[in-house]
Structure formats: structure tokens, C-alpha cells
Symmetry: C2
Subunit: 137 residues, 2 copies
């Protein structure tokens, strides 16, 4: 369960396909994750409708990774996006892969302003010897 969670809020992003197209955002996320050496197990992305004829809708989605997940949401009306990358370390330290994925998304989306925090999740709690058991149906 131990692993790095990068959560970032992007501001003043250039307008463009990654802010308004779920298809383009999905392709970027998959390409960037695989490029960083992470394993994509599946995903779901959704295209929001625009508020009116002059304003495109945002894009939102999540990739389920073998190492945990990537979630991205865009707000084109605010030139903003939020980003979550969480990688657990079951198969080794995946922090470098998370940072590579983050760097690639910053490089492509090109936010003018970023608020980012890194949290190290999963303290070292010993495995319980006798966890209660719930019967499977």
C-alpha cells in the first residue's frame, strides 16, 4: 500500500483539445502512462456537454493502473484541470514512474500555474494476525 500520491491543480492551461476532448485526454493519459512504464488495466472517460454554444464542455476520466490510478478532470471554462497520480510499491518503488507521468502531463497540458502536493501513503502497519472474517455469500 505504500506509495506516492501526486495531486496537482493546474491553472491557466492553454485552450485546446486536452481541455475539451475526452478522447484526446484519454489518449494522452494512456500514452503518457505507458511511456512512464506504468501498466494500464482499463479506463473510463466522459465528455461533458458545453454550457452553451460558445463554451465547450470539459473532459473527465480515470485510468486504473496495475500500480493504482490516474484521474484527470478538466474545467475549460476556468482553463483548469486537476490531476491525481497514485502508485503503490508492491512490485518495487514506482515513484520515478509517477514523476515521469506527471512531468509528461505537465509538458503536454502546459499549465501556466500549478499547485502540487506529494503525499507518501500507507504507513507500515503490520499485517493483523487475526482479522475478523466475513463469509462470502
Amino acid at each position: 500500500m505504500r506509495g506516492l500520491h501526486i495531486f496537482a491543480d493546474f491553472y491557466h492551461c492553454p485552450k485546446g483539445k486536452y481541455m475539451v476532448s475526452a478522447k484526446a485526454l484519454r489518449q494522452l493519459c494512456i500514452r503518457a502512462s505507458e511511456g512512464a512504464g506504468l501498466t494500464v488495466l482499463g479506463d473510463h472517460f466522459y465528455q461533458f456537454n458545453g454550457f452553451d454554444a460558445t463554451q465547450a464542455g470539459g473532459a473527465t476520466g480515470a485510468l486504473v493502473l496495475a500500480e493504482s490510478h490516474l484521474a484527470v478532470h478538466t474545467w475549460p471554462e476556468r482553463d483548469g484541470a486537476t490531476l491525481d497520480i497514485y502508485v503503490c510499491n508492491v512490485t518495487g518503488d514506482n515513484s520515478d514512474k509517477a514523476e515521469a507521468l506527471y512531468a509528461e502531463l505537465v509538458r503536454v497540458i502546459r499549465p501556466g500555474d500549478i499547485m502540487v502536493e506529494r503525499v507518501w501513503r500507507g504507513k507500515d502497519v503490520p499485517v493483523a494476525d487475526e482479522a475478523p472474517t466475513i463469509a462470502l455469500p
Copy 2:
């Protein structure tokens, strides 16, 4: 973009279907999200194989919500799980719904120990008047 992000690490969870069945975990997440008044747009869940014949594999997945996302990963070999709930406030303050979802997942999964943090995301950056434009292909 402003909204509450609850991230929690669950320890000493009782063994049972929510720790080892992606199908059961998915159903729980959808039911609990809808019960909290959140709107599920789609999801992807994945069932990990066990390490050997005596140890079931974990479950992992994400729900894409109209309000942002829910992501859950389980580690049955450690009786642990991680949980992320992020709700933006475009349509109003969804914090109570996020807390209701969190409370329901705690009630059902019944972790013996929890490390939880709440982060208020999205500072009030004004909309840029002239964000650079990238041409759509």
C-alpha cells in the same frame, strides 16, 4: 475546481468479499455513491489474481463521477485498502455527499484502523483573460 478530496488508508480490514472481489467492490462503490446523491458516469474495476492458491487477489477500480471521482484499491494480503473521494463544487457544495459516501464505505468495509486526510482543492485563481490557444487538429 474547488472541492473536497478525502484520501484514506484502511488497515486491519475484515477479510471478505469487498477485499477480494472486484465485482462486489464495484457494486458497493456504485450503491454507496448513488446513495450519497452523487452521479456515476462510468467505472472500471479490475480483479487481480492471487499470489498463490491460499491467497486471493485484490480488487481495484475507479468510478468517474459527475462530481469527480472515487478510487479504491485493496490489498487483501495486508488486510488493507486505499480510498480516494474527490468532489468538485460546480453544481453546489458536494462536501456533505463526499462525507456520506466516505462514512458508508467505512461502515461496510469496517477497517480496524484508518489514516484519513481531507484536502480542500482548487484555490481561487481568476479565469485568465487571454490563455494561449492551441489549434484543434
